[in-house]
Protein backbone atom coordinates (compact mmCIF):
# COMPACT_ATOMS: atom_id res chain seq x y z
CA UNK A 1 0.00 0.00 0.00
CA UNK A 2 1.13 3.45 -0.79
CA UNK A 3 0.77 5.47 2.35
CA UNK A 4 2.19 8.66 0.88
CA UNK A 5 -0.56 11.22 0.88
CA UNK A 6 1.36 14.07 -0.68
CA UNK A 7 3.95 13.37 -3.33
CA UNK A 8 5.84 16.08 -5.12
CA UNK A 9 8.35 15.42 -7.87
CA UNK A 10 10.48 18.08 -9.44
CA UNK A 11 7.86 20.74 -8.89
CA UNK A 12 8.91 24.09 -10.34
CA UNK A 13 7.12 27.40 -10.61
CA UNK A 14 8.54 30.28 -12.55
CA UNK A 15 7.24 33.82 -12.79
CA UNK A 16 9.07 35.14 -15.81
CA UNK A 17 12.71 34.82 -14.97
CA UNK A 18 12.08 34.49 -11.25
CA UNK A 19 11.92 30.96 -9.93
CA UNK A 20 9.59 30.83 -6.95
CA UNK A 21 9.79 27.08 -6.40
CA UNK A 22 12.76 25.24 -7.72
CA UNK A 23 12.66 21.52 -8.44
CA UNK A 24 10.93 20.52 -5.23
CA UNK A 25 10.78 16.89 -4.15
CA UNK A 26 8.78 16.05 -1.09
CA UNK A 27 6.54 13.37 0.27
CA UNK A 28 4.29 13.32 3.30
CA UNK A 29 2.85 10.12 4.75
CA UNK A 30 -0.62 9.60 6.07
CA UNK A 31 -1.33 11.01 9.50
CA UNK A 32 1.82 13.04 9.57
CA UNK A 33 2.10 16.69 10.54
CA UNK A 34 4.60 18.22 8.19
CA UNK A 35 5.91 21.70 8.73
CA UNK A 36 7.05 23.87 5.86
CA UNK A 37 9.37 26.34 7.41
CA UNK A 38 10.87 29.27 5.65
CA UNK A 39 11.17 33.02 5.59
CA UNK A 40 8.68 35.23 3.78
CA UNK A 41 8.82 34.84 0.04
CA UNK A 42 10.51 31.45 0.17
CA UNK A 43 7.86 29.86 -2.02
CA UNK A 44 5.83 28.14 0.68
CA UNK A 45 2.52 29.63 -0.38
CA UNK A 46 3.24 29.03 -4.05
CA UNK A 47 3.91 25.37 -3.32
CA UNK A 48 0.64 25.13 -1.47
CA UNK A 49 -1.25 26.84 -4.29
CA UNK A 50 0.14 24.29 -6.72
CA UNK A 51 -0.90 21.46 -4.41
CA UNK A 52 -4.47 22.67 -4.31
CA UNK A 53 -4.67 23.47 -8.02
CA UNK A 54 -5.02 27.23 -7.60
CA UNK A 55 -2.01 27.81 -9.80
CA UNK A 56 -0.33 25.75 -12.49
CA UNK A 57 3.16 24.41 -11.97
CA UNK A 58 5.69 25.31 -14.66
CA UNK A 59 7.01 21.77 -14.56
CA UNK A 60 7.00 18.72 -12.36
CA UNK A 61 4.10 16.94 -10.73
CA UNK A 62 2.31 17.04 -7.44
CA UNK A 63 -0.06 14.38 -6.24
CA UNK A 64 -2.42 14.45 -3.32
CA UNK A 65 -4.05 11.13 -2.44
CA UNK A 66 -2.85 9.95 -5.85
CA UNK A 67 -4.72 12.72 -7.71
CA UNK A 68 -3.04 15.35 -9.82
CA UNK A 69 -4.39 18.75 -8.74
CA UNK A 70 -3.60 20.46 -12.01
CA UNK A 71 -5.69 17.91 -13.91
CA UNK A 72 -8.48 17.09 -11.47
CA UNK A 73 -8.66 20.05 -9.12
CA UNK A 74 -12.23 19.30 -8.09
CA UNK A 75 -11.42 15.77 -6.95
CA UNK A 76 -8.46 17.01 -4.98
CA UNK A 77 -10.52 19.69 -3.31
CA UNK A 78 -13.00 17.06 -2.13
CA UNK A 79 -10.28 15.50 -0.02
CA UNK A 80 -8.19 18.48 0.89
CA UNK A 81 -9.10 21.32 3.16
CA UNK A 82 -7.14 24.48 2.60
CA UNK A 83 -6.91 27.37 5.00
CA UNK A 84 -5.46 30.31 3.13
CA UNK A 85 -3.25 32.85 4.74
CA UNK A 86 -5.43 35.61 6.21
CA UNK A 87 -8.71 33.89 5.45
CA UNK A 88 -11.81 35.97 4.80
CA UNK A 89 -15.50 35.33 5.29
CA UNK A 90 -18.68 36.88 4.03
CA UNK A 91 -19.16 39.74 6.43
CA UNK A 92 -22.90 39.91 6.08
CA UNK A 93 -23.38 36.28 7.09
CA UNK A 94 -22.91 34.90 10.58
CA UNK A 95 -20.09 32.51 11.36
CA UNK A 96 -22.48 29.60 11.30
CA UNK A 97 -24.01 30.65 8.01
CA UNK A 98 -20.57 30.87 6.48
CA UNK A 99 -19.85 27.33 7.59
CA UNK A 100 -23.17 26.05 6.29
CA UNK A 101 -22.51 27.72 2.95
CA UNK A 102 -19.17 25.93 2.66
CA UNK A 103 -20.81 22.66 3.63
CA UNK A 104 -23.42 23.11 0.93
CA UNK A 105 -20.73 23.77 -1.64
CA UNK A 106 -19.43 20.36 -0.63
CA UNK A 107 -22.86 18.88 -1.40
CA UNK A 108 -23.65 18.21 2.24
CA UNK A 109 -27.43 18.23 2.86
CA UNK A 110 -28.67 21.23 4.79
CA UNK A 111 -29.71 19.38 7.95
CA UNK A 112 -26.40 17.61 8.28
CA UNK A 113 -24.56 20.81 7.43
CA UNK A 114 -26.27 22.67 10.30
CA UNK A 115 -25.46 19.91 12.74
CA UNK A 116 -21.84 19.71 11.70
CA UNK A 117 -21.40 23.46 11.73
CA UNK A 118 -22.72 23.55 15.30
CA UNK A 119 -20.29 20.85 16.40
CA UNK A 120 -17.31 22.40 14.72
CA UNK A 121 -17.94 25.89 15.92
CA UNK A 122 -17.82 24.72 19.51
CA UNK A 123 -14.82 22.57 18.74
CA UNK A 124 -12.82 25.60 17.68
CA UNK A 125 -14.07 27.53 20.68
CA UNK A 126 -16.44 29.95 19.00
CA UNK A 127 -19.73 28.61 20.33
CA UNK A 128 -20.66 32.01 21.76
CA UNK A 129 -19.77 33.82 18.58
CA UNK A 130 -21.46 31.52 16.09
CA UNK A 131 -24.49 33.76 15.64
CA UNK A 132 -22.46 36.93 15.25
CA UNK A 133 -21.84 38.38 11.82
CA UNK A 134 -18.46 37.32 10.52
CA UNK A 135 -17.68 40.96 9.79
CA UNK A 136 -17.43 41.55 13.52
CA UNK A 137 -14.91 38.78 14.07
CA UNK A 138 -11.38 39.57 15.10
CA UNK A 139 -8.48 38.22 13.12
CA UNK A 140 -7.92 35.34 15.51
CA UNK A 141 -11.59 34.43 15.50
CA UNK A 142 -11.57 34.43 11.73
CA UNK A 143 -8.64 32.08 11.80
CA UNK A 144 -10.49 29.69 14.14
CA UNK A 145 -13.57 29.88 11.99
CA UNK A 146 -11.27 29.13 9.08
CA UNK A 147 -10.19 25.92 10.74
CA UNK A 148 -13.81 24.91 11.27
CA UNK A 149 -14.45 25.80 7.65
CA UNK A 150 -11.64 23.51 6.56
CA UNK A 151 -12.89 20.64 8.72
CA UNK A 152 -16.52 20.77 7.71
CA UNK A 153 -15.93 18.69 4.61
CA UNK A 154 -14.24 15.89 6.57
CA UNK A 155 -10.95 16.22 4.75
CA UNK A 156 -8.22 13.62 4.53
CA UNK A 157 -5.57 16.25 4.26
CA UNK A 158 -5.55 19.77 5.59
CA UNK A 159 -3.18 22.40 4.34
CA UNK A 160 -2.71 25.41 6.55
CA UNK A 161 -0.90 28.46 5.26
CA UNK A 162 0.47 30.53 8.13
CA UNK A 163 -2.49 29.57 10.31
CA UNK A 164 -1.37 31.19 13.52
CA UNK A 165 -0.92 34.71 12.20
CA UNK A 166 -2.87 37.18 14.25
CA UNK A 167 -3.81 34.84 17.07
CA UNK A 168 -2.78 35.73 20.60
CA UNK A 169 -0.25 33.46 22.35
CA UNK A 170 -2.76 31.46 24.38
CA UNK A 171 -4.93 31.18 21.30
CA UNK A 172 -1.99 29.85 19.33
CA UNK A 173 -1.47 27.17 21.97
CA UNK A 174 -5.11 26.07 21.75
CA UNK A 175 -5.04 26.23 17.99
CA UNK A 176 -1.93 24.09 17.68
CA UNK A 177 -3.19 21.60 20.24
CA UNK A 178 -6.40 21.32 18.28
CA UNK A 179 -4.49 20.57 15.11
CA UNK A 180 -2.39 17.91 16.82
CA UNK A 181 -5.45 16.33 18.40
CA UNK A 182 -7.32 16.22 15.11
CA UNK A 183 -4.40 14.70 13.35
CA UNK A 184 -4.10 12.00 16.00
CA UNK A 185 -7.79 11.28 16.48
CA UNK A 186 -8.92 11.33 12.92
CA UNK A 187 -5.72 10.45 11.13
CA UNK A 188 -5.74 13.67 9.15
CA UNK A 189 -2.54 14.52 7.36
CA UNK A 190 -1.51 18.09 8.00
CA UNK A 191 0.74 20.31 5.95
CA UNK A 192 1.57 23.38 7.91
CA UNK A 193 3.45 26.38 6.65
CA UNK A 194 4.95 28.93 8.94
CA UNK A 195 7.90 31.21 9.40
CA UNK A 196 7.70 30.88 13.16
CA UNK A 197 10.01 28.13 14.27
CA UNK A 198 8.66 27.46 17.71
CA UNK A 199 5.20 26.62 16.54
CA UNK A 200 6.53 24.28 13.95
CA UNK A 201 8.79 22.70 16.52
CA UNK A 202 5.85 22.20 18.84
CA UNK A 203 3.49 20.41 16.52
CA UNK A 204 5.27 18.96 13.54
CA UNK A 205 6.58 15.44 13.18
CA UNK A 206 8.73 16.44 10.31
CA UNK A 207 10.00 19.72 9.03
CA UNK A 208 11.12 20.91 5.63
CA UNK A 209 13.21 24.03 5.51
CA UNK A 210 12.46 26.14 2.54
CA UNK A 211 14.66 28.99 1.40
CA UNK A 212 14.69 30.70 -1.98
CA UNK A 213 12.36 28.15 -3.54
CA UNK A 214 14.51 25.20 -2.56
CA UNK A 215 13.98 22.62 0.09
CA UNK A 216 17.27 22.79 1.93
CA UNK A 217 16.68 20.09 4.49
CA UNK A 218 13.95 17.74 5.51
CA UNK A 219 13.44 15.43 8.43
CA UNK A 220 12.46 15.47 12.09
CA UNK A 221 14.02 18.10 14.24
CA UNK A 222 16.57 15.82 15.93
CA UNK A 223 17.81 14.36 12.71
CA UNK A 224 18.03 17.80 11.21
CA UNK A 225 20.16 18.87 14.13
CA UNK A 226 22.31 15.81 13.79
CA UNK A 227 22.76 16.38 10.12
CA UNK A 228 23.67 19.94 10.70
CA UNK A 229 25.97 19.75 13.67
CA UNK A 230 27.31 16.38 12.71
CA UNK A 231 29.93 15.94 15.41
CA UNK A 232 28.31 17.44 18.42
CA UNK A 233 24.66 17.44 19.17
CA UNK A 234 24.98 19.08 22.51
CA UNK A 235 26.83 22.01 23.95
CA UNK A 236 27.25 22.37 27.69
CA UNK A 237 28.15 25.70 29.08
CA UNK A 238 29.97 25.79 32.40
CA UNK A 239 30.55 28.91 34.38
CA UNK A 240 33.06 28.89 37.24
CA UNK A 241 34.13 31.49 39.77
CA UNK A 242 37.51 33.05 39.20
CA UNK A 243 40.10 30.67 40.73
CA UNK A 244 41.56 33.35 42.97
CA UNK A 245 38.91 35.45 44.64
CA UNK A 246 39.71 38.85 46.08
CA UNK A 247 38.44 37.94 49.57
CA UNK A 248 41.47 35.89 50.46
CA UNK A 249 39.66 32.61 50.45
CA UNK A 250 42.02 31.24 47.84
CA UNK A 251 41.81 27.52 47.75
CA UNK A 252 45.03 25.60 47.94
CA UNK A 253 43.87 22.93 45.54
CA UNK A 254 42.58 25.33 42.90
CA UNK A 255 43.99 24.95 39.45
CA UNK A 256 44.31 27.40 36.61
CA UNK A 257 41.62 27.74 34.03
CA UNK A 258 43.87 26.29 31.38
CA UNK A 259 44.43 23.26 33.56
CA UNK A 260 40.72 22.79 33.98
CA UNK A 261 40.29 23.03 30.27
CA UNK A 262 42.74 20.22 29.74
CA UNK A 263 41.06 18.17 32.36
CA UNK A 264 37.65 18.61 30.78
CA UNK A 265 39.05 17.77 27.42
CA UNK A 266 40.25 14.42 28.68
CA UNK A 267 36.75 13.30 29.70
CA UNK A 268 35.26 10.73 27.40
CA UNK A 269 32.66 12.08 25.02
CA UNK A 270 33.97 15.60 24.93
CA UNK A 271 34.72 16.81 21.44
CA UNK A 272 36.01 20.27 22.03
CA UNK A 273 36.33 22.77 24.84
CA UNK A 274 36.33 26.47 24.28
CA UNK A 275 37.25 28.78 27.08
CA UNK A 276 36.27 32.36 27.35
CA UNK A 277 36.72 34.29 30.57
CA UNK A 278 35.69 31.61 33.06
CA UNK A 279 33.00 30.26 30.81
CA UNK A 280 33.65 26.94 29.15
CA UNK A 281 31.78 25.79 26.08
CA UNK A 282 32.00 22.05 26.01
CA UNK A 283 30.83 20.36 22.86
CA UNK A 284 29.99 16.76 23.43
CA UNK A 285 28.21 13.97 21.64
CA UNK A 286 26.14 12.73 24.57
CA UNK A 287 24.72 14.06 27.79
CA UNK A 288 27.70 13.98 30.15
CA UNK A 289 26.84 16.98 32.24
CA UNK A 290 27.14 15.09 35.54
CA UNK A 291 30.67 13.93 34.75
CA UNK A 292 31.60 17.44 33.78
CA UNK A 293 30.20 18.86 36.98
CA UNK A 294 32.10 16.32 39.06
CA UNK A 295 35.29 17.09 37.20
CA UNK A 296 34.93 20.80 37.83
CA UNK A 297 34.25 20.33 41.54
CA UNK A 298 37.03 17.82 41.98
CA UNK A 299 39.42 20.24 40.39
CA UNK A 300 38.64 22.70 43.15
CA UNK A 301 37.00 25.37 41.06
CA UNK A 302 33.68 26.80 42.12
CA UNK A 303 30.92 25.71 39.79
CA UNK A 304 28.60 28.65 39.24
CA UNK A 305 26.26 27.20 36.74
CA UNK A 306 25.95 24.49 34.19
CA UNK A 307 23.73 24.94 31.20
CA UNK A 308 22.78 22.35 28.66
CA UNK A 309 22.28 23.86 25.24
CA UNK A 310 20.36 21.67 22.87
CA UNK A 311 20.23 22.66 19.26
CA UNK A 312 16.74 23.84 18.63
CA UNK A 313 15.06 24.82 15.48
CA UNK A 314 16.38 28.32 16.01
CA UNK A 315 19.93 27.26 15.42
CA UNK A 316 18.95 25.07 12.52
CA UNK A 317 16.94 27.86 11.02
CA UNK A 318 19.59 30.51 11.32
CA UNK A 319 22.23 28.14 10.11
CA UNK A 320 20.28 27.50 6.95
CA UNK A 321 19.32 31.09 6.46
CA UNK A 322 22.93 32.07 6.59
CA UNK A 323 23.71 29.29 4.18
CA UNK A 324 20.83 30.32 1.94
CA UNK A 325 21.95 33.92 1.84
CA UNK A 326 25.53 32.94 1.33
CA UNK A 327 24.74 31.11 -1.86
CA UNK A 328 23.23 34.11 -3.54
Amino acid sequence: MNSKVIEIHGLTKKYGSFTAVDNLNLSVSKGEIFGLLGPNGAGKSTTILMLIGLTEPSSGTAKICGIDPSRNPVDVKKKVGYLPEDVGFYDNLTGLENLIYTAQLNSIPLGEARQRADQLISKVGLSNEGKKKAGKYSRGMRQRLGLADVLIKNPEVIILDEPTMGIDPSGIKDFLELIVRLSREEGITVLFSSHLLHQVQKVCNRVGIFVGGKLLAEGDINSLARKLFATSALTIEIGISPPSSGKGRAKPRSITAAGLKNKLQSIEGVDAVKMNNNIFQVECSGDISSQLARAVINSGADLNYLNKKEYGLDDIYYHYFEGGNGNE
Partner: protein, 319 residues
Protein backbone atom coordinates in the same frame (compact mmCIF):
# COMPACT_ATOMS: atom_id res chain seq x y z
CA UNK B 1 -31.92 11.86 -0.98
CA UNK B 2 -30.26 13.41 -3.97
CA UNK B 3 -33.21 15.66 -4.54
CA UNK B 4 -32.82 17.39 -1.23
CA UNK B 5 -29.21 18.34 -1.82
CA UNK B 6 -29.10 21.57 -3.73
CA UNK B 7 -26.46 21.54 -6.45
CA UNK B 8 -23.47 23.66 -5.40
CA UNK B 9 -23.98 25.93 -8.38
CA UNK B 10 -27.49 26.84 -7.27
CA UNK B 11 -26.27 27.25 -3.70
CA UNK B 12 -23.91 29.90 -5.01
CA UNK B 13 -26.57 31.54 -7.17
CA UNK B 14 -28.98 31.66 -4.24
CA UNK B 15 -26.41 33.30 -2.02
CA UNK B 16 -25.49 35.87 -4.66
CA UNK B 17 -29.12 36.76 -5.31
CA UNK B 18 -29.65 37.17 -1.58
CA UNK B 19 -26.58 39.36 -1.37
CA UNK B 20 -27.85 41.60 -4.16
CA UNK B 21 -31.28 41.87 -2.65
CA UNK B 22 -29.99 42.80 0.77
CA UNK B 23 -27.41 45.27 -0.42
CA UNK B 24 -27.89 49.01 -0.14
CA UNK B 25 -26.59 49.38 -3.64
CA UNK B 26 -29.53 47.48 -5.03
CA UNK B 27 -32.03 49.45 -2.96
CA UNK B 28 -30.57 52.73 -4.20
CA UNK B 29 -30.54 51.62 -7.83
CA UNK B 30 -34.07 50.33 -7.57
CA UNK B 31 -35.18 53.62 -6.04
CA UNK B 32 -33.56 55.64 -8.84
CA UNK B 33 -35.07 53.53 -11.56
CA UNK B 34 -38.52 53.36 -10.01
CA UNK B 35 -38.57 57.12 -9.46
CA UNK B 36 -37.55 57.94 -13.01
CA UNK B 37 -40.05 55.47 -14.37
CA UNK B 38 -42.83 56.92 -12.27
CA UNK B 39 -41.86 60.35 -13.58
CA UNK B 40 -41.88 59.30 -17.21
CA UNK B 41 -45.07 57.34 -16.74
CA UNK B 42 -46.70 60.41 -15.28
CA UNK B 43 -45.79 62.56 -18.27
CA UNK B 44 -46.88 59.77 -20.60
CA UNK B 45 -50.27 59.48 -18.91
CA UNK B 46 -50.90 63.21 -18.94
CA UNK B 47 -50.04 63.41 -22.62
CA UNK B 48 -51.64 60.25 -23.90
CA UNK B 49 -54.94 62.00 -24.59
CA UNK B 50 -53.35 64.20 -27.23
CA UNK B 51 -51.62 61.22 -28.78
CA UNK B 52 -54.87 59.35 -29.31
CA UNK B 53 -56.52 62.34 -30.89
CA UNK B 54 -53.88 62.47 -33.59
CA UNK B 55 -55.91 59.91 -35.52
CA UNK B 56 -53.08 58.38 -37.49
CA UNK B 57 -52.71 54.72 -38.28
CA UNK B 58 -50.67 54.03 -35.16
CA UNK B 59 -53.70 54.42 -32.99
CA UNK B 60 -53.99 50.67 -32.87
CA UNK B 61 -50.85 50.62 -30.76
CA UNK B 62 -51.57 53.45 -28.44
CA UNK B 63 -50.88 51.36 -25.34
CA UNK B 64 -47.25 51.18 -26.41
CA UNK B 65 -47.18 54.97 -26.28
CA UNK B 66 -46.97 54.65 -22.51
CA UNK B 67 -43.39 53.63 -23.09
CA UNK B 68 -42.45 56.11 -25.75
CA UNK B 69 -44.48 59.27 -25.33
CA UNK B 70 -43.13 62.43 -23.79
CA UNK B 71 -44.01 66.10 -23.63
CA UNK B 72 -40.39 67.14 -23.80
CA UNK B 73 -39.90 67.88 -20.11
CA UNK B 74 -38.95 64.35 -19.07
CA UNK B 75 -37.53 61.64 -21.31
CA UNK B 76 -39.81 58.71 -22.05
CA UNK B 77 -39.67 55.38 -20.30
CA UNK B 78 -37.55 53.60 -22.88
CA UNK B 79 -35.05 56.46 -23.12
CA UNK B 80 -34.68 56.29 -19.37
CA UNK B 81 -34.07 52.56 -19.50
CA UNK B 82 -31.47 52.95 -22.22
CA UNK B 83 -29.77 55.56 -20.08
CA UNK B 84 -30.00 53.85 -16.69
CA UNK B 85 -29.58 50.27 -17.89
CA UNK B 86 -25.81 50.56 -18.31
CA UNK B 87 -25.55 52.14 -14.88
CA UNK B 88 -27.50 49.24 -13.42
CA UNK B 89 -25.35 46.65 -15.20
CA UNK B 90 -22.08 48.30 -14.25
CA UNK B 91 -23.02 48.76 -10.63
CA UNK B 92 -24.20 45.18 -10.22
CA UNK B 93 -21.03 43.77 -11.69
CA UNK B 94 -18.07 46.01 -11.04
CA UNK B 95 -16.94 44.31 -7.81
CA UNK B 96 -17.90 40.75 -8.68
CA UNK B 97 -14.52 39.09 -8.48
CA UNK B 98 -12.22 41.68 -6.99
CA UNK B 99 -14.33 42.14 -3.87
CA UNK B 100 -14.11 38.42 -3.21
CA UNK B 101 -10.39 38.65 -3.68
CA UNK B 102 -10.06 41.65 -1.38
CA UNK B 103 -12.19 40.07 1.33
CA UNK B 104 -10.04 36.94 1.17
CA UNK B 105 -13.01 34.74 0.37
CA UNK B 106 -11.98 33.94 -3.19
CA UNK B 107 -9.26 31.44 -2.37
CA UNK B 108 -11.43 29.88 0.32
CA UNK B 109 -14.36 29.37 -2.02
CA UNK B 110 -12.15 28.10 -4.83
CA UNK B 111 -10.64 25.58 -2.43
CA UNK B 112 -14.06 23.94 -2.26
CA UNK B 113 -14.84 21.14 -4.69
CA UNK B 114 -16.55 23.29 -7.29
CA UNK B 115 -15.18 24.01 -10.76
CA UNK B 116 -13.69 27.44 -10.92
CA UNK B 117 -16.08 28.74 -13.55
CA UNK B 118 -19.02 28.14 -11.21
CA UNK B 119 -18.09 31.28 -9.34
CA UNK B 120 -18.17 33.44 -12.46
CA UNK B 121 -21.26 31.74 -13.88
CA UNK B 122 -23.12 31.89 -10.58
CA UNK B 123 -22.39 35.57 -10.17
CA UNK B 124 -23.53 36.31 -13.69
CA UNK B 125 -26.60 34.16 -13.28
CA UNK B 126 -27.53 35.81 -10.00
CA UNK B 127 -27.22 39.32 -11.40
CA UNK B 128 -29.19 38.25 -14.45
CA UNK B 129 -31.98 36.89 -12.26
CA UNK B 130 -32.07 40.11 -10.28
CA UNK B 131 -32.14 42.26 -13.41
CA UNK B 132 -34.81 40.12 -15.03
CA UNK B 133 -37.03 40.31 -11.98
CA UNK B 134 -36.56 44.03 -11.81
CA UNK B 135 -37.32 44.67 -15.46
CA UNK B 136 -40.26 42.36 -15.66
CA UNK B 137 -41.82 43.86 -12.58
CA UNK B 138 -41.22 47.35 -13.94
CA UNK B 139 -42.81 46.51 -17.27
CA UNK B 140 -45.76 44.85 -15.62
CA UNK B 141 -46.14 47.79 -13.28
CA UNK B 142 -46.24 50.13 -16.25
CA UNK B 143 -48.81 47.90 -17.95
CA UNK B 144 -50.87 47.73 -14.76
CA UNK B 145 -50.76 51.46 -14.16
CA UNK B 146 -51.66 52.09 -17.76
CA UNK B 147 -54.53 49.65 -17.51
CA UNK B 148 -55.94 51.43 -14.48
CA UNK B 149 -55.32 54.92 -15.79
CA UNK B 150 -56.63 54.61 -19.34
CA UNK B 151 -58.92 51.66 -18.91
CA UNK B 152 -58.07 49.98 -22.21
CA UNK B 153 -56.24 46.64 -22.05
CA UNK B 154 -53.26 46.10 -24.35
CA UNK B 155 -53.83 43.90 -27.37
CA UNK B 156 -51.98 40.56 -27.39
CA UNK B 157 -49.55 41.97 -29.92
CA UNK B 158 -48.83 44.98 -27.76
CA UNK B 159 -48.33 42.71 -24.81
CA UNK B 160 -45.90 40.54 -26.77
CA UNK B 161 -44.05 43.63 -27.96
CA UNK B 162 -43.65 44.77 -24.37
CA UNK B 163 -42.39 41.33 -23.36
CA UNK B 164 -39.85 41.31 -26.19
CA UNK B 165 -38.82 44.82 -25.31
CA UNK B 166 -38.26 43.72 -21.70
CA UNK B 167 -36.18 40.75 -22.84
CA UNK B 168 -34.18 43.08 -25.05
CA UNK B 169 -33.49 45.43 -22.14
CA UNK B 170 -32.32 42.46 -20.08
CA UNK B 171 -29.89 41.48 -22.85
CA UNK B 172 -28.69 45.07 -23.04
CA UNK B 173 -28.12 45.36 -19.30
CA UNK B 174 -26.42 41.99 -19.23
CA UNK B 175 -23.95 43.29 -21.80
CA UNK B 176 -22.93 46.06 -19.39
CA UNK B 177 -22.99 43.57 -16.56
CA UNK B 178 -20.55 41.32 -18.40
CA UNK B 179 -18.34 44.21 -19.31
CA UNK B 180 -18.09 45.23 -15.67
CA UNK B 181 -17.50 41.60 -14.61
CA UNK B 182 -14.64 41.60 -17.09
CA UNK B 183 -13.21 44.71 -15.46
CA UNK B 184 -13.69 43.20 -12.03
CA UNK B 185 -11.63 40.19 -13.08
CA UNK B 186 -8.99 42.38 -14.63
CA UNK B 187 -8.61 45.09 -11.98
CA UNK B 188 -7.98 44.35 -8.35
CA UNK B 189 -9.46 47.60 -7.08
CA UNK B 190 -13.21 47.79 -7.37
CA UNK B 191 -12.98 51.56 -7.78
CA UNK B 192 -10.79 51.12 -10.85
CA UNK B 193 -13.14 48.62 -12.39
CA UNK B 194 -16.20 50.77 -11.69
CA UNK B 195 -14.48 53.76 -13.24
CA UNK B 196 -13.44 51.81 -16.32
CA UNK B 197 -17.01 50.61 -16.77
CA UNK B 198 -18.34 54.14 -16.50
CA UNK B 199 -15.58 55.36 -18.82
CA UNK B 200 -16.63 52.92 -21.52
CA UNK B 201 -20.23 53.92 -21.08
CA UNK B 202 -19.40 57.64 -21.33
CA UNK B 203 -17.18 57.00 -24.31
CA UNK B 204 -19.99 55.34 -26.22
CA UNK B 205 -22.72 57.75 -25.24
CA UNK B 206 -20.80 61.02 -25.50
CA UNK B 207 -17.44 60.82 -27.21
CA UNK B 208 -17.85 58.15 -29.83
CA UNK B 209 -20.62 60.02 -31.70
CA UNK B 210 -18.45 63.15 -31.68
CA UNK B 211 -15.49 61.23 -33.06
CA UNK B 212 -17.65 59.68 -35.75
CA UNK B 213 -18.90 63.11 -36.69
CA UNK B 214 -15.37 64.42 -37.00
CA UNK B 215 -14.16 61.46 -39.01
CA UNK B 216 -17.08 61.23 -41.38
CA UNK B 217 -17.14 64.96 -42.00
CA UNK B 218 -13.70 64.60 -43.53
CA UNK B 219 -15.11 62.20 -46.12
CA UNK B 220 -18.36 64.04 -46.71
CA UNK B 221 -19.04 64.11 -50.45
CA UNK B 222 -20.40 67.23 -52.07
CA UNK B 223 -24.12 67.57 -52.61
CA UNK B 224 -23.60 67.07 -56.31
CA UNK B 225 -21.68 63.84 -55.95
CA UNK B 226 -23.05 60.75 -57.73
CA UNK B 227 -25.83 58.96 -55.85
CA UNK B 228 -23.86 55.81 -55.16
CA UNK B 229 -21.11 57.82 -53.43
CA UNK B 230 -23.64 59.54 -51.20
CA UNK B 231 -25.18 56.15 -50.55
CA UNK B 232 -21.78 54.67 -49.63
CA UNK B 233 -21.06 57.62 -47.40
CA UNK B 234 -24.32 57.22 -45.51
CA UNK B 235 -23.78 53.49 -45.30
CA UNK B 236 -20.32 54.05 -43.77
CA UNK B 237 -21.75 56.49 -41.26
CA UNK B 238 -24.42 53.97 -40.37
CA UNK B 239 -21.93 51.12 -39.94
CA UNK B 240 -19.68 53.20 -37.70
CA UNK B 241 -22.62 54.06 -35.48
CA UNK B 242 -23.62 50.41 -35.24
CA UNK B 243 -20.54 49.63 -33.15
CA UNK B 244 -22.12 51.39 -30.19
CA UNK B 245 -24.10 49.01 -28.02
CA UNK B 246 -26.39 51.82 -26.88
CA UNK B 247 -27.20 52.60 -30.50
CA UNK B 248 -28.03 48.95 -31.13
CA UNK B 249 -30.31 48.96 -28.14
CA UNK B 250 -32.09 52.19 -28.97
CA UNK B 251 -32.65 51.06 -32.56
CA UNK B 252 -34.03 47.74 -31.45
CA UNK B 253 -36.24 49.17 -28.74
CA UNK B 254 -37.58 51.86 -31.07
CA UNK B 255 -38.53 49.23 -33.61
CA UNK B 256 -40.27 47.10 -31.03
CA UNK B 257 -42.17 49.91 -29.36
CA UNK B 258 -42.99 51.97 -32.44
CA UNK B 259 -44.39 49.49 -34.96
CA UNK B 260 -44.23 51.94 -37.87
CA UNK B 261 -40.44 51.95 -37.84
CA UNK B 262 -39.45 49.73 -40.71
CA UNK B 263 -35.75 50.11 -41.32
CA UNK B 264 -32.50 51.71 -40.28
CA UNK B 265 -29.76 53.15 -42.30
CA UNK B 266 -29.95 54.62 -45.78
CA UNK B 267 -32.60 53.38 -48.15
CA UNK B 268 -32.71 53.89 -51.87
CA UNK B 269 -35.84 55.11 -53.59
CA UNK B 270 -36.17 51.70 -55.23
CA UNK B 271 -36.30 50.03 -51.88
CA UNK B 272 -39.01 52.31 -50.57
CA UNK B 273 -41.07 52.14 -53.74
CA UNK B 274 -44.31 50.32 -53.34
CA UNK B 275 -44.13 50.19 -49.57
CA UNK B 276 -47.45 50.74 -47.84
CA UNK B 277 -47.00 53.06 -44.88
CA UNK B 278 -48.38 51.45 -41.76
CA UNK B 279 -47.41 49.50 -38.69
CA UNK B 280 -45.47 46.30 -39.13
CA UNK B 281 -46.61 43.03 -37.61
CA UNK B 282 -44.58 41.77 -34.66
CA UNK B 283 -42.78 39.12 -36.70
CA UNK B 284 -41.52 41.71 -39.17
CA UNK B 285 -40.40 44.05 -36.41
CA UNK B 286 -38.50 41.20 -34.84
CA UNK B 287 -36.85 40.48 -38.18
CA UNK B 288 -35.69 44.08 -38.35
CA UNK B 289 -34.15 44.04 -34.88
CA UNK B 290 -32.58 40.63 -35.36
CA UNK B 291 -29.13 42.00 -36.37
CA UNK B 292 -29.13 44.42 -33.46
CA UNK B 293 -30.14 41.69 -31.04
CA UNK B 294 -27.50 39.31 -32.37
CA UNK B 295 -24.91 42.06 -32.12
CA UNK B 296 -25.78 42.74 -28.51
CA UNK B 297 -25.70 39.07 -27.60
CA UNK B 298 -22.40 38.67 -29.44
CA UNK B 299 -20.62 41.47 -27.57
CA UNK B 300 -22.05 40.10 -24.33
CA UNK B 301 -20.60 36.70 -25.09
CA UNK B 302 -17.26 38.19 -26.10
CA UNK B 303 -16.98 40.04 -22.80
CA UNK B 304 -17.91 36.92 -20.90
CA UNK B 305 -15.40 34.88 -22.85
CA UNK B 306 -12.54 37.25 -22.12
CA UNK B 307 -13.32 37.37 -18.42
CA UNK B 308 -13.67 33.59 -18.41
CA UNK B 309 -10.24 33.15 -20.02
CA UNK B 310 -8.65 35.65 -17.68
CA UNK B 311 -10.21 34.07 -14.64
CA UNK B 312 -9.60 30.41 -15.43
CA UNK B 313 -5.89 30.90 -15.97
CA UNK B 314 -5.45 33.19 -13.01
CA UNK B 315 -3.43 32.31 -9.96
CA UNK B 316 -5.60 32.67 -6.88
CA UNK B 317 -3.63 34.20 -4.04
CA UNK B 318 -5.23 34.98 -0.75
CA UNK B 319 -5.89 38.74 -0.64
Amino acid sequence: MNKRVLHPFWVMVRKEVADHMKSWRFVILMAIIVLTCVGSLYTALTNIGKAVDAGDNENAFFFLKLFTITDGTLPSFFIFISFLGPLLGISLGFDTVNSEQNRGTLSRILAQPVPRDYLLNAKFMAALIVISMMFFSLSFLVIGTGLIAIGIPPTPEEFMRIIFYTLLSIVYVSFWLNLSILFSVRFRQSATSALSGIAVWLFFTVFYPIIINLVTRAFEPSRYAPAHIIYMYNKLKFILVQIMPNELFSEASTTLLIPSVRSFGPLTIEQVQGAIPGPLPLGQSLLIVWPQLTGLIAVTIICFLISYLLFMKREIRSR
